[in-house]
Symmetry: C2
Subunit: 168 residues, 2 copies
C-alpha cells in the first residue's frame, strides 16, 4: 500500500490533516489546551511511549502548532506552548468534543465546555460571522476556491466557478 502525503493533496482539509499528522497529535493538542506543557505531563496523561511522544511533539513544533521553550538550564528541560496556529485549532477540537458528547457518550459527558464565569454548560454552534446564520446545509455549501485545481473543481462541480471567479 502506497503512502501518500496528504500535504500534496490540493484541499484545505487534507493539508490540515497532514499537519496534525495523526490522532496522538490531536490528543496532545487537547492536553495543551488544558494547560499541560511538560513532557512528563503529556506522558502521564496519554500513557504514550516516550519515543512516540518525542516524535509527535517534534512534529507539532515543526508544523508550527507548538513552540519549545527551555524553562530549566540545569537540568535542561523544555516545555511546549501553543502557538497562535495551535490555538486556532481550538474550534476544531471543541466541535469534536461536541460531536463526541452527542454520539459517543452513552453514560453521560466526560468533558463539557462551560462558560468560565458562570459554569453554565455551553452548546457549541457554528455560525457565519457575517450573517450570524447557522453554518449548515443546504443554506451553506463548500465550493472550489480561487486556488483550486481541476480535481477540487471536479469534486465540487462547475456550479462553484462563477461564484469565485476563475484565475485564468
Amino acid at each position: 500500500m502506497r503512502h501518500k502525503s496528504f500535504g500534496d493533496m490540493h484541499c484545505a482539509v487534507a493539508r490540515s490533516l497532514e499537519r496534525v499528522g495523526e490522532w496522538w497529535s490531536i490528543l496532545i493538542l487537547r492536553d495543551a489546551f488544558q494547560g499541560l506543557t511538560r513532557f512528563s505531563q503529556f506522558q502521564e496523561s496519554l500513557e504514550i511511549a516516550p519515543n512516540m511522544l518525542t516524535r509527535r511533539l517534534n512534529a507539532l513544533v515543526a508544523a508550527g502548532l507548538l513552540e519549545r521553550h527551555r524553562y530549566s538550564r540545569r537540568p535542561p528541560r523544555d516545555e511546549y506552548l501553543l502557538t497562535e496556529r495551535g490555538r486556532d485549532f481550538r474550534p476544531v477540537l471543541w466541535a469534536l468534543v461536541d460531536w463526541g458528547n452527542k454520539h459517543f457518550s452513552p453514560d453521560g459527558h466526560t468533558i463539557d465546555i462551560v462558560e468560565t464565569e458562570t459554569g453554565r454548560i455551553a452548546e457549541p454552534m457554528l455560525i457565519d460571522r457575517h450573517s450570524g446564520h447557522a453554518l449548515q446545509a443546504p443554506e451553506f455549501r463548500t465550493v472550489a476556491g480561487p486556488a483550486a485545481n481541476d480535481r477540487v473543481r471536479a469534486r465540487h462541480g462547475v456550479f462553484a466557478a462563477p461564484q469565485n471567479g476563475a484565475k485564468s
Copy 2:
C-alpha cells in the same frame, strides 16, 4: 509500540477519534458531504487503493456514520449515504476547512464555504448557542463532565467538580 484503542480512553475527543479512525475516513466524509456516494467516485477522488477504501467504508458504516444502500441488484452495487451521526460531523469538518484556509493556504483558498443563495464567502465562527458569545478562551473552558473518571478529572483540575456535580 503498543497499539491502544482510543475508544477505551475516557474522553469525548479520544472516543470521537476512534470512530473516524484515521485521515482517510475524514477525507471520505469530506467527499460524502460534497455529494459523492459511490465506490468509484470515492476512489477517483481519493486515489486510494481499493482494499483500503473498502476497509474504510466498512468501518464508517460500522461506526454508524455512513449507511450502505443497494441501488442496483444486477450488477450488485451499493452507495454510501451519510447518516444523522455522519451529518453531525459537518461542523468539525468545516472548522477544519477554516483552520486549513487560515494557516496552510499560502496560494489562496482551494475550498470556501459559501452561502448557497448569495455565493458570499462565509467566515465560520463557533459560538455558544445559549448566550450567543464566541466560544473561545478564556471566556469558555473545558471541565470534567458528570461521567468523567479520575484521569479526566485530574487533567482538568478540581476546579471542575463543583460546577458539574459529583455522581456519588
